[in-house]
Amino acid sequence: MTVGFIMMCHTALDRAAQVARYWATSGAPVVIHVDARVSEHDYSALGRSLADLEDISFSRRYKCEWGTWSLVAAAQSASEQMLERHREVRHVYLASGSCLPLRPLSELTDYLAARPYTDFIESVTTTEVGWTVGGIDMERFTLRFPFSWKKQRRLFDRYVELQRRVKFKRRIPDGMVPHLGSQWWCLTRQTLSAILQDPDRDVYDRYFKRVWIPDESYFQTLTRLYATSVESRSLTLTKFDFQGKPHIFYDDHLQLLRRSDCFVARKVWPKADRLYSTFLAPGNGSSVMAEPNPAKIDRLFSKSIERRTKGRPGLYMQSRFPKKDHENGKTSAPYSIFHGFSDLFENFDGWLAKYVGARVHGHLFAPERAEFAGGEEMFNGCLTDSAVMRDYNPRAFLTNVIWNSRGERQCFMFSPRDNQDNNWFTATDPNAQISVISGAWALPLSRMNENFATIRREAARLQRRELEHLHILRSMYVKARVRIWSIAEFIENPMEPLQTIIDEISPRSTRRLTEAPQMVDLAGFGQFLQNLKNQGMQPLVMGDFPLDEGARQSSTRRGRPYLVK
């Protein structure tokens, strides 16, 4: 007892001949179906190259088109020929011309001999499959499909829509439950002959001729009527990509294919010389009788499909123009933005670096240059501190900084003086932690040696920019962790907010702040704000800042009383 192969070929006939020869010389009869569109010249060349082998025969040729009945008709007539000519065949294996046997024939025949009444055919009901093309599953069996999906898509879609609207439904023959599955099967003589010799075969054939993609459902459905034991899986390893096209195996998949322990793989690139020479070599094969294990390959392929559909979070590939707002994660890691802190505290970045295990930059978006931590001129990934380069694409600059320092949290200072182009981006990024002391930008202005008119103009400009930023941070689209204090609020009790922010940055080191950052001299700031007001510029973002700050100032300078226990 042995297994017989039916091969459906249309291209790369030399490879098909090589595989057919391999099977035939190992003792398995082969019936080859060659697409009727293959030229007479190529067909006869194939015939000549295999003429020395008795067990290879050619079946009646059909013109095969994807998704049509012709594929089933070709398989039927080849199966009949196989069953008739080769009495010794117990299992019939349907393969394609681009299939490659991965294990010696003896292992397959042993495997099948141990399961003499089992049919290997993937066969599941329509409710259980998630892979159907075009959202058409059960409707394959109840609608009519006179138009080609590939060539006449518009007509195809419209006709389907029309039938849906008029609620047209074909009758499914009695006793039949539609099943779907991979078209590459391995059936026993009993089952296959029962299908082919059924007195009602005319009824079924007539019905399936009008079903869409019958090669995925004809045998899969009818097997269920006769089989005693169905293993609903294909012995052929096939993978489909994101678009439902079969994956192609190349030379570099050799180890992977070997480890899969599958019997046959599809589809193999015809010029993958190493795969063909390795797997068709005599003596190839494992000594142990391993169960086919396509799961390993599944893992690899699902990983690549995932990367393709989702990308790597925060890595904007140089070689890929990203789909706007379809990125999987805007940035790759959490980061913190401190707005206004460097104006209120002296050497705030130095203080912060002591308390958090993070890289603390100065004003990355300062107008003069990007102030990288430690005054560096260049950062990971060859980012320079040039403001021109940064401002050419500030968003790419930010995502690059975050991506290139994976594993280390990045913190940077911000103020209305800096480049504001990223404000929407950071506000809608769940990785961002944005802490704002509004109005702090006015502190350096209050000590500036400049004509008051100039200062007032500058104050108006910065306030406008800050208001715009605050407006963004208060919008309903915000995904970042945002905290906003006015400067008046913040100096009331600076330690508590600082502790909260720092706990959030490094939650595990529940370290208490022992030293407050040094606040700048606030004396005269209240008066400065009053002067602005007197000159006709209304300060809106400072909160309710008292006119005389002298008394409170002296107490905050010591810091201690504001420690949180």
Partner: protein
């Protein structure tokens, strides 16, 4: 937007393409066939088209690299060479050679000549069009020759593959990049930038413009918008009505420029650019003198001066090239759906 996609714009591009084809047709008068072995070309062969001048040093490795990838025939226009380039090419079994003394600049940097050869010999073939200092790599290219890629693209119905130019530079000042004829240039120029590239969609030709790399980082800090473009379309299944517009950055019709769009799921490649191989300093001086390169000559004078100053492009954060896999890991090229 309607301006860009409307029939008016489409028609303008059509006229533009016809004009380019007409130029290509005219440019044939300047070409003299030195060695025509195109009779060898068989159906389905992958062809390579290039213009070169004084490339005797890079050529042996160039030919070796592309033969290994599966290029079957080289069609080369040699422009006014004074070194061994011509002798070297004439002794190759798979090279057809044309010579011209005409101006490179007036032939739109050689593109008219190549458009003509592509029109004559390229139709129906997958064609690689590159410069002599560009080596094409793509994901897994060590295990999968070009026909594996082109078969896949054919099955996908994709007419072209895009690649990003990757400027390679030495570990030290430019003059330290020593290499002998026949060496892999990435030995002398092992470093590249992993980040700092920016994209822009350019609606007119429907392409994605990429800028960045060491040249932008060092020479164009003040004018990033003048930095050289890095996007290219070096691999196209040619039709006689196609035409390259500016270098191989952009090609018409517009559909051929979509290679970098993530929605297409196509793999992208990289062109390892060995501009800074030794001789680059002298070449920079020469090129400035000849004024045959680039559209905006004056913009590049400062650039050529900077190169002549023998700068050091490397920094602590430069990445080292170890093979196509490392480019995939850094996101410089992408597998797309091709696994």
């Amino acid at each position: 937007m309607s301006e860009d996609t409307g029939w008016r714009a489409a028609y303008r591009l059509r006229l533009k393409r016809r004009q380019l084809l007409w130029r290509a047709l005219r440019s044939r008068h300047g070409l003299r066939a030195r060695l025509n072995q195109t009779g060898q070309i068989a159906r389905g062969d992958i062809l390579l088209f290039a213009t070169m001048r004084n490339e005797a040093q890079r050529l042996p490795y160039f030919l070796q690299h592309y033969r290994q990838l599966g290029v079957r025939h080289f069609l080369i226009v040699e422009n006014d060479s004074t070194d061994d380039t011509v002798e070297l090419l004439r002794t190759q079994p798979d090279v057809s050679l044309w010579s011209t003394q005409r101006s490179y600049r007036e032939a739109r940097f050689g593109m008219d000549w190549l458009n003509w050869l592509l029109m004559c010999y390229g139709r129906g073939h997958w064609c690689v069009t590159v410069d002599a200092d560009e080596l094409l790599v793509y994901p897994d290219c060590e295990a999968r020759p070009l026909p594996a890629l082109t078969d896949w693209l054919d099955a996908r119905g994709a007419p072209a593959m895009a690649a990003m130019m990757l400027d390679m530079y030495p570990d030290g000042p430019l003059s330290s990049a020593r290499s002998t004829t026949g060496d892999d240039p990435t030995q002398a120029l092992p470093l590249f930038d992993t980040q700092g590239y920016t994209w822009e969609y350019q609606p007119r030709f429907g392409n994605i413009s990429i800028r960045g790399g060491p040249r932008k980082r060092v020479f164009f800090t003040e004018r990033p918008d003048h930095a050289p473009h890095l996007h290219k379309v070096p691999l196209v299944k040619w039709n006689w009505r196609y035409a390259y517009v500016s270098s191989t950055h952009v090609v018409l019709p517009r559909t051929l420029n979509r290679g970098f769009d993530a929605r297409g799921g196509l793999p992208t490649g990289a062109l390892l650019h060995s501009k800074f191989l030794d001789g680059a300093l002298q070449r920079a001086r020469e090129e400035k003198e000849r004024g045959e390169h680039f559209t905006h000559r004056d913009r590049y004078n400062a650039y050529y001066d900077a190169i002549s100053g023998d700068p050091d492009l490397s920094c602590d954060h430069s990445a080292r090239y170890t093979g196509p896999d490392c480019l995939v890991d850094h996101g410089v090229m992408s597998r797309g759906d091709w696994t």
